[in-house]
């Protein structure tokens, strides 16, 4: 006789089920943004994990970050400086000539989407060895971006020693798309996407 007291409206149990259903529905129409098997259901999520250049979304495009000109400059160089024996200034061709390795890692954006990507490029530890850095424990990578909270990111010893910490030149079998960080981006395990810094300009050994 519960229905009588509510005048035929939702009783307490019905209301709880409705709240539960609401939470479920919200999850259902957004979770595919990060959980690929449900990607087709993520109709109200702003991004889709397989939609974008080279098969995954973009947080910030090159045009939005204002780096297009610098990134496409044929005179681009990557600087390696700080506590190193030999400072390096490597052109894209010199970077490409170094041994390249692959890492299958996720880009997990703090905005709620994530997508796996196969990066290929130079191991950070190889680059630092070439520059003569001894047991680096703290490295800052800096983007071509002029500002913003995610212009730099920091790598500590465990990341620096990891074989999967790469300066990626390619992703999913193609040279990086400009919006994915051409000419060179950081790809490292266990990092939020915003710290997979794009359009790298400089690698600085701090300690």
């Amino acid at each position: 006789m519960v229905a009588e007291r509510t005048g035929g409206g939702l009783d307490r149990r019905g209301f709880l089920w409705t709240a539960f259903g609401g939470a479920g529905l919200v999850t259902l129409v957004t979770v595919g943004q990060t959980f690929r098997p449900l990607k087709e259901l993520a109709v109200l999520a702003p991004r889709k994990p397989d939609f974008g250049p080279q098969g995954f979304p973009v947080n910030k495009a090159a045009a939005g970050a204002g780096v297009t000109k610098k990134a496409m400059d044929p005179g681009y160089t990557l600087t390696v400086d700080g506590k190193v024996k030999n400072k390096l200034k490597l052109s894209l061709a010199e970077l490409r000539a170094m041994p390249r390795h692959e890492a299958d890692l996720p880009i997990t954006c703090v905005e709620g989407w994530s997508a796996g990507a196969r990066g290929r490029g130079v191991r950070v530890k190889d680059l630092l060895a070439r520059a003569g850095a001894e047991n680096p424990g703290h490295v800052t990578v800096t983007s071509l971006q002029g500002g913003g909270a995610y212009r730099t990111s920091i790598l500590n010893a465990p990341h620096l020693q990891d074989d999967q910490t790469l300066l990626a030149l390619e992703v999913n079998g193609e040279p990086l798309h400009i919006d994915h960080g051409f000419p060179c981006r950081l790809i490292a395990p266990n990092q939020p996407g915003v710290q997979q810094t794009k359009w790298l300009a400089k690698v600085t050994v701090d300690a």
């Binding site: 229905a3 009588e4 007291r5 035929g8 409206g9 939702l10 009783d11 109709v43 702003p46």
Partner: protein, 166 residues
């Protein structure tokens, strides 16, 4: 409602003070929860260059305010208004549908407003999210009405046997 005239009014259930939570489990879990919240707040403040506390607070508090000051009153008002116009058996499904539609409408605000969409980055709001949101809202309301019709039909065939919740 019509039955109420033949029955004495029921006393409304009241919250009894002696039901206030207590006991070891309650306090241990409360302490654990408070510690986790404290750790989160510490992180927000300590890494303020990454968390941007201003926008963090806007989202945390803003979400609560939106729910408590906009969504909940609208849903309650709509529910109360519907009591007058809808026949009894329709009320529950339609109220449920309105709650779900309200939640999804709130969720759709960013994609309907296309916040963050830009010509430079077509991967954000990559499709016709506006249309999608409207279709879903319409479908929920339609489902609510359909359930109401089913319920009403069931009641009229099984006449007088409507206390199926017992």
């Amino acid at each position: 409602m019509s039955v109420a005239a033949e029955e004495p009014p029921r006393p409304e259930p009241t919250l009894r003070v002696d039901e206030a939570p207590s006991g070891a489990v309650f306090w241990v879990l409360s302490a654990l929860g408070a510690a986790i919240i404290g750790f989160g707040i510490y992180g927000v403040i300590h890494d303020s260059n990454l968390t941007v506390p201003g926008s963090f607070i806007k989202w945390m508090i803003g979400g609560l305010l939106l729910h408590d000051l906009v969504l909940a009153p609208l849903v309650i008002l709509a529910g109360a208004g519907l009591r007058r116009f809808l026949p009894g058996r329709f009320r529950a499904p339609v109220q449920a549908a309105l709650v779900l539609a309200g939640v999804l409408a709130l969720l759709s605000v960013p994609v309907i407003g296309a916040y963050g969409a830009s010509r430079a980055n077509p991967t954000v709001i990559y499709s016709h999210h506006y249309t999608r949101a409207l279709i879903i809202l319409f479908a929920i309301l339609l489902a609510g009405a359909a359930f109401g019709v089913l319920r009403a039909a069931r009641t009229s065939t099984a006449d007088g046997d409507d206390d199926d919740e017992a």
